[in-house]
Amino acid sequence: MKVALTTSGETLEAPLDPRFGRAPRFLVFDTDTTAFEIVDNRAGLEAAQGAGVQAAETLARLGVRGLVTGHCGPKALRVLVRAGIEVYNTDASTVAEALTAYREGRLCAAEPV
């Protein structure tokens, strides 16, 4: 399955961006193949308002089942929950650290609204 992590970089060593709506990109990691791809969060970055909503729509379209980030606003959370995407919050500083914590089951799921 695919899990998305918010980042400003392009590799597993890149920093984990704590914001969801305005994160520059998503690192979408496939836990079955361990391959990953980088997806731009253009929609979220350019939105004047509702950046999180647009970012969430992007993830829904990608068929992602999980999201790991610092925090995510209430509007975005509504869309993610509706799309069946599990949201996990962490203060890990890199994508690799966050991904490891996720795969080891050490992360808490965000409370749905």
Binding site: Q49, G50, V53, Q54, V79, A83
Partner: protein, 284 residues
Amino acid sequence: MILGVASGKGGTGKTTVAVSLARVLGSAVQLLDCDVEEPNDRLFLDGRLREAQVVTVPVPRVDEVACDGCGECGRFCRFHAIVAVDGPPLVFPELCHGCGGCIRVCPRGALHETPRRIGVVEVLDAGPVTLVEGRLDVGAALVPPLVRAVKAHRAGDRPAILDAPPGRSCAVIETLRGADAVVLVTEPTPFGLNDLAQALAVARELGLSCGVVVNRVGIGDDRVQAFCRENAVPVLAELPDDRRIAEAGSRGEPLVDALPEYRGVFRSILEGATRLAEKGSGSW
């Protein structure tokens, strides 16, 4: 007569001018405070509240029983205010512009309009001046419908002064649309001149006759006056950089009340604006 008071740059003295113009007019006049994000006219007029109206925009509400999750609404909406990812759509009222499109495209009639509050319009009586104030709810982003609601209160039987927001956004355009003439208030500085040029372009795009009031003459240079000459815009008045004016404004006292010697200046602004209005070609 409908007279707009606008500026490119903020803080040049629109409210100061609009309020004093209303005060010297003497007879019944309406002052419409269209700066709905930060309305200030009320702070200068001792008004009694006569009427209050909550202003809403129509946003969609989902009938989850009737909805079959087709997602047509989400595909139509250009503002991401209704999002269909799985099952019944989610509505984000803050992002909705109230166009009504999603309601119409829904093949099941599963969307209904429900009002969402964006602000209020209040009418206050302050002697011969009737103040109509629009006030946006903090956090509401949609401004033009509230400006339209303020202007809907305009009575045709007396002159109206429209206090516009600063800049040249859609809120300014909504305010000035339909005015007979516009007074552009500026200051003699590079920022003032730059923003005046832009505001003038907007007013001309709207087909409005303009006059300029230069406030705080002496703080900068005279490029603003030269610009007005070169662009055939009449300077209706110049106000000096008089600290007493700033102090009266800081206390919330109308300029012409605190310093009656300035009444003549405002009367001549009115005369100049009236001449512009008579000459004016009207607008949209």
